[in-house]
């Protein structure tokens, strides 16, 4: 089974609510779900959609076609009708729709009328529509009732009953009038406790699992939901969330907090990151750990605020004046987003460097239902100076020269030592210097961190045979869609492998060179217009690929898009 529902309408019509409800219901029913969103930079009106794929086997990309269109406005019909597969149908509200014609596969349901008669308010359309979708599918209604109960019984008990009434009315109407005309039917299976979680939520959870206790940011799509999520967990997780006056303040605040002993993070998008670049360099020279999430959207400048792109890899790689060590993580799924974020804090603390997590609007907003994270082996490794480190130390040196390049780190105020650091080039004890021999030693010390970092790099994930006719290469959020393409092509008897990079800096050159040896046709797939990974690959290894499949219209790749471009 592989069924896709698209909910379309104007901003503010509740597509997200309906989408979230249905996703959870099917997840709880034992199905695998995948959902993605498309929205505009406005609060009301325009055209948005939310698409849910429900399947028996795990899925990791949106389908190019859909089976059920839940159209909350007319435009949704004209925009998406053609995406319907044979046997698909459209739920719409005839009383609100001027253009929609009745006919086979057209399910005219008085969503608004039912909302008003059953609940008394238009907001109940969400419950009516959710009920209607389930009714059409002959799915059980009780999971919906349970979910509504969970959502409202505590927070807004006065809304519970009306919601349930509205849901039932929608369910009943669809079942009574149309369920015979719709071929697709499915039922809940045994409950499976999977988490319906998107990339940003996974990052937020990763930060909490890393003991992040200070988060400062300035709102910017598509990173804002990390800020919002963490703000809701302040008391429970002992994390201070501060909305900064601007992004410059945000990063400088977290550097102050980190210096003072916190585990600190910020999140932003390209424009905000641009403003952080000076402080990134400050993290470099002061060797202050920091975790920075950059959720990419199409640029330049304001660009397309609510769309997706992978246009900032090379920017992030070289951002900041002067030369200093950093690590760049590029998670491809909610799982990687969680584990890599948790790891980012340990890595940042160990090497006393900024660690950058590069995600994008697509990954930030896609939901999959995944196995709950395995927390058993996670640890918080602060790598602070030990008593042993300080045993014979009379005057503590924050920037002591060491073979690894890592100096013992103390928290100010927690010993009688003073902790001194400086944005100028400095001596081992952190005071500014113009001694040019010391300068060279300090540059060398800081670059020595790359030896350790290179050893700790997360290797690219090769999925499929090493000897391959076609190697599909990607980084970050393209992981899921390339995975599906790879699976499909293999199922068709082709010999295809996927190479996914969850970390791009330090660049895992050796492994890539090795992998390239046994691959025939090598294709890089990137959501940008220039092929930034391809460039990095050549710079680091001299290797080139045979083709680049690039997309930069602000939308993510789909399976068919890639297949088409592969011309197989």
């Amino acid at each position: 089974m592989d069924f896709s529902i698209k909910i379309g309408g104007q901003a503010g019509q509740g597509m997200q609510t309906i989408g979230a409800i249905l996703s959870k219901i099917f997840s709880r029913g034992g199905y695998h779900i995948f959902s993605n969103q498309d929205y505009q930079s406005r609060i009301r009106g325009g055209h948005n959609f939310y698409q849910i794929r429900i399947a028996a086997a795990p899925v990791s990309a949106p389908d190019d076609q859909i089976d059920l269109l839940l159209a909350l406005d007319d435009l949704s019909i004209t925009e998406h009708e053609f995406e319907l597969r044979n046997g698909g149908g459209i739920i719409y509200d005839g009383s609100k729709s001027k253009s929609a014609k009745e006919g086979s596969g057209r399910f005219n349901i008085p969503l608004e009328k039912l909302a008003l008669t059953e609940g008394g308010k238009k907001v109940f359309v969400n419950s009516v529509a959710s009920g209607a979708a389930l009714g059409l599918l002959n799915y059980d209604i009780s999971p919906l009732e349970t979910l509504l109960y969970e959502s409202f019984s505590k927070k807004k008990p006065e809304m519970l009953e009306s919601n349930i009434k509205a849901a039932r009315a929608g369910y009943r109407f669809a079942q009574d009038n149309y369920s015979q005309q719709f071929a697709h039917k499915f039922k809940p299976g045994p409950a499976v406790p999977r988490m319906v979680i998107n990339g940003n939520e996974a990052i937020a959870l990763g930060a909490l699992a890393a003991g992040c206790n200070f988060f400062a940011a300035y709102p910017m799509t598509p990173s804002t939901s990390i800020l919002v999520y963490l703000a809701g967990k302040q008391a429970q997780f002992n994390i201070m969330v501060e909305q900064a006056e601007d992004e410059i303040a945000a990063l400088n605040m977290i550097l102050g907090a980190s210096y003072a002993g916190a585990r600190a993070m910020t999140a932003t998008s390209g424009g905000g990151f641009s403003l952080m670049v000076e402080a990134l360099s400050l993290a470099g020279i002061t060797e202050t750990p920091a975790v920075i999430v950059l959720a990419q959207r199409p640029g330049p400048a304001t660009g397309l605020p609510t769309r997706t792109e992978q246009g900032e890899l090379l920017f992030v790689l070289h951002a900041g004046h002067g030369e200093f060590a950093r690590a760049i993580f590029t998670p491809g799924s909610s799982e990687e987003a969680f584990y890599l974020t948790q790891k980012a804090f340990n890595l940042a603390d160990k090497y006393q460097i900024p660690v950058l997590i590069l995600t994008d609007q697509y990954l930030a907003d896609i939901y999959r239902n995944i196995e709950p994270f395995d927390l058993s082996s996670l640890a918080i490794d602060r790598h602070l100076a030990t008593e042993e480190d300080l045993k014979d130390v009379r005057e503590y040196k924050r920037h002591q020269l060491t073979p690894s390049g890592i100096s013992p780190r103390l928290i100010p105020g927690r010993t009688e030592h003073v902790v001194v650091t400086d944005s100028d080039e400095h001596t081992e004890d952190g005071h500014l210097t113009e001694d040019l021999d010391v300068r060279v030693k300090m540059v060398d010390k800081r670059s020595r961190k790359y030896q350790g970092l290179a050893g700790a790099v997360i290797p690219p994930v090769l999925d499929g045979p090493a000897e391959t006719d076609l190697l599909l290469i990607g980084w970050g959020s393209t992981y899921g869609v390339i995975k599906e393409v790879t699976q499909k092509l293999n199922a068709e008897g082709k010999r295809v492998s996927q190479l996914h990079f969850p970390q791009l800096w330090p660049f895992p050159s050796e492994r890539v060179v090795e992998i390239f040896k046994s691959a025939t046709r090598k294709v890089i797939i990137e959501n940008n217009s220039t092929g930034q990974l391809a460039w990095l690959l050549r710079a680091e290894t001299g290797l080139t690929v045979d083709e680049k499949i690039l997309k930069y219209d602000g939308r993510p790749f789909t399976v068919n898009y890639i297949r088409g471009a592969l011309k197989l």
Partner: protein
């Protein structure tokens, strides 16, 4: 000067005669008079001649970027509140490049002390006008003299609701020291604008210029609780320049209002990755 635990023997990069030389002992004695030890104090500074100050004493130091002394001080204080946190820099740094942090830090009202070495000029970059340069002040960049209104920073700070505002003068170490002590004792943000000569680049506002103009508010029965009076007084500049605590009002500090900041310092609490399990239910 009597010795303090904050003393640190090192050559400075300041010019002979510079006002910075007397601000340094004022800071050190203020801290030591308050019974603080070097490891209990954190000075966050920016970039400029003023911003070099913490390098010439013993204390925790985060010498960050030009214009950005306040944000790291904010972050540090929120997570490690037992530190006495000072943000210290020049007028160009705090009123110019860093203006946005100052205005929002005042609104936030965290318990930090901001000390501005106000020489009315950019010293380290060799003498351009700063936001507090006087109209007509000529430099190699402002060749016809400054044409933009001189900022009176305490007026601005007052208008944003600051609860502790003072002015001092580098020619009077005990006064500076007193102001700094009072500022640190004040709960919430406190701002001290310290007038000081730059003997190289500011030939207008010299030591004598200041010396002959400054007078002490406290000696004139000043009531620092009258906001409207403080507003008028904050603009007094020219033949007479008032020193002292211009305005003082208790208002709740941010730390007293935010739930998660109650109790142990954030950095001392227990964190366990496994606690995240508690959240899984939300997603299922």
């Amino acid at each position: 000067m009597k010795p303090t635990p904050f003393d640190y023997k090192v050559a400075t990069a300041w010019c002979p005669g510079c006002g910075n030389f007397s601000i340094l002992p004022a800071v050190k004695t203020a801290l030591s008079d308050l019974g603080l030890k070097p490891h209990q104090v954190l000075i966050c500074s920016g970039i400029g001649q003023a911003a070099k100050l913490p390098h010439y004493m013993r204390c925790n130091t985060f010498n960050g970027l030009h214009g950005r002394s306040i944000p790291p001080a904010t972050g540090a204080k929120l997570v490690n509140p037992e530190l006495a946190v000072i943000a210290e820099s020049g007028d160009g740094d705090i009123y110019g490049e860093g203006g946005n942090h100052l205005i929002h830090a005042i609104r936030r009202n965290i318990d930090i002390t901001v000390i501005v070495h106000n020489n009315q000029v950019y010293g380290l970059t060799k003498g351009q006008a700063s936001p507090t340069s006087e109209i007509g002040f000529a430099t190699k960049v402002q060749t016809e003299g400054v044409k933009t209104a001189m900022m009176t920073p305490l007026t601005m700070a007052l208008s944003l609701g600051a609860g502790f505002l003072a002015r001092s003068f580098s020619g009077d170490i005990p006064h500076m020291s007193l102001m700094i002590r009072e500022a640190i004792k004040h709960r919430g943000i406190s701002i001290i604008d310290v007038l000081m000569p730059c003997v190289i680049f500011n030939k207008l506002n010299t030591f004598q210029w200041y010396k002959s103009r400054v007078y002490k508010l406290e000696e004139n029965g000043w009531d620092p609780t009258d906001k409207l009076a403080a507003y008028e007084k904050s603009m007094e500049w020219g033949d007479k320049i008032p020193l002292g605590i211009l305005y003082r009002k208790e208002r709740p500090a941010y730390e007293d209002l935010v739930s998660v900041l109650q109790g142990k310092p954030l950095i001392d609490r227990d964190y366990s990755p496994q606690k995240v399990q508690e959240l899984f239910g939300e997603f299922i």
